[in-house]
Structure formats: structure tokens, C-alpha cells
Amino acid sequence: MSLPEERLWRFRKPEWLNSIWVRNAGVYTAGGLFSLAFYTLLDSAVWSKSSRNGSTIHVGFVDWLPFIFSALGMLVISNIEKSRLSSESFSYTGYSSSVAWKARVILFLGFASLAGGMAGGVTVFVLKYVVPGVQWPALGMGVENLVSNFLVGLSTVVLWAAVRILSGGITPFDL
């Protein structure tokens, strides 16, 4: 696993990173980041309907759509069995390459959905808030949309890295 000739990076992975404690903390952190993303977006929706919003801009279904795509992508990505991705690691009865191919296609769809959600967040921000020239207190709703989609992506990264720590024995930096 950690043979010296298989090492690619000059710095060795520190030993404390390989403990079950770090893995569990990473999974908790991923859940917390996803919660933060959801409540950031919910905050913009509640603020939009509250009395503090003096503008005519309101949060509708369009603002939720990028988050829905991001969360769908995260669901797909974190449900893939990561050890099926490399076809040479498992040799089942001849089906291994087809399983790896399927896993890669589904993973690609998941990442496309996540990236599409982030891009959709930027699109909503530009078309709904920047182009009409919305001023600051109402502009916060668009900024919260951006932050929310970014946090979903961050949560996906943290969850991926944490789950990889003990399951494969490979560093989280190479898939």
C-alpha cells in the first residue's frame, strides 16, 4: 500500500490523518457544512418574505433550483462505491470493467449536476441581481445563493476525503 516506489508525493501523509477519529470528524463536518448551505438558502427565502426586505425582489423557485441540482449531485457522488472506480483493483468474474465504466458514468453525471448547480447559482446571481442593479440589503439574497452552492460543493469534497481515509488506504488527493 505505502511502498516507497509507489509514493508520488515528496511529503508523506501524516499518521494522525489515518485514524478513525479524523474520519468520523470529517463526516460530521460534511453534515454540518451541508446544513449550513441549506440554512443559508432558507435564510435568504425567509428574509425575502420578512418585513426587513424593502425591495420588490423576492426569492422564488428559480433561486432554489441550483441548490436542488447541487444537492442531487452530492447525493449521487457520495452514494457511489469509490472502490469500484478503478477497474484493476477488483477483478470479479469478468464484470469488473463494466462495473467500473458504469460507476464512472454515474459519477460524471453527479459531478455535472454539482457543477451545474454552482454555475446555475452564478447565473441566477448575475441575471436576477447584478444586471438589474439591485442594491445591498437585497443583494444579500443573491450572495447567500452563491455561498450556499459553494458550501454544498465543499461538503461534497470533505465527505469524499473523509470516507476515503480508511476505506482504501490511498491518500485523499488521488481519487
Binding site: N24, V27, Y28, T29, A30, G31, G32, L33, F34, S35, L36, F38, Y39, T40, L42, D43, V46, W47, S50, S51, R52, E81, S83, L159, V163, S167
Partner: protein, 129 residues
């Protein structure tokens, strides 16, 4: 683990009572009863971990299906814990509760959750793997 005795129970129950006092006060002083949701959140927070811990078979750690269920429970628990802090901030930002009510309910909620966690730590049976 320190010896858990009568003093631990008494101090934990005091902390729990102070937590509930802060949350209920943050509701009743301003006549806005939204922060009571924080109590429900923190009471529900250890439940996914508990359910998934009973669903998973700790023996089949190799095929990682048990670990996946445990991870789902941890993910949901992390979601609920951050929700307990995020909910008062959301309500305060929208003007539904005032800033002192937000601070009181966050501190009270954290005290309640800390009591639940430390109670589970002190008095758990030897069933964890």
C-alpha cells in the same frame, strides 16, 4: 474515563435546567416562541446516530456497508447540530426574534446538547466497537 457518580448526575441536571431556562426565557421575554425549535433540534440530534448504530452490523466492516450506514447517521447528526445554531441566526436575521433572544437560545441549546452528549459519554454501556 472519570468515575461517574452522583455528583456528575447532579451537575449535569443543573446544566440541563439552565439550558432549558435560557431557551424558555428567550421565548417568553419577547413573546416569540420560535426558539423552542432549538430544543427539539438538539433532542433529536443524537437520534440518527443511535438508530444507524443499531442498524449497522459492526462485524462486516470489510464490505463497508455497515460503515456507510454509520456515516449516514453521523452526517444527519452533524446536520442537526449545525441546524440548532443556524436556526436562531436565521430567525434573528429576518427580524422574527431579537438579537438577545438569539444569543440566549444558542447558549441554551448548546448547554442542552452538551448535557446529552456528556451523559451518553459518562453512562454508556460497553457496547461500542
Amino acid at each position: 474515563m472519570p468515575q461517574a457518580g452522583l455528583k456528575t448526575i447532579i451537575s449535569l441536571s443543573f446544566v440541563l435546567a439552565i439550558g432549558f431556562l435560557l431557551v424558555i426565557l428567550s421565548c417568553a421575554l419577547w413573546k416569540a416562541y420560535y426558539p423552542l425549535l432549538v430544543v427539539a433540534t438538539y433532542v433529536l440530534a443524537p437520534v440518527p446516530n443511535w438508530i444507524c448504530g443499531h442498524c449497522a452490523n459492526p462485524d462486516d466492516f470489510v464490505e463497508s456497508s455497515g460503515a456507510a450506514v454509520l456515516d449516514l447517521g453521523r452526517f444527519c447528526t452533524g446536520f442537526l447540530v449545525v441546524m440548532g445554531v443556524a436556526l436562531p441566526v436565521l430567525l434573528c436575521h429576518s427580524g422574527l426574534i431579537s438579537t438577545p433572544a438569539m444569543i440566549m437560545s444558542i447558549i441554551g441549546g448548546l448547554l442542552i446538547y452538551g448535557t446529552i452528549i456528556s451523559f451518553a459519554m459518562f453512562f454508556q454501556e460497553d457496547q461500542d466497537f
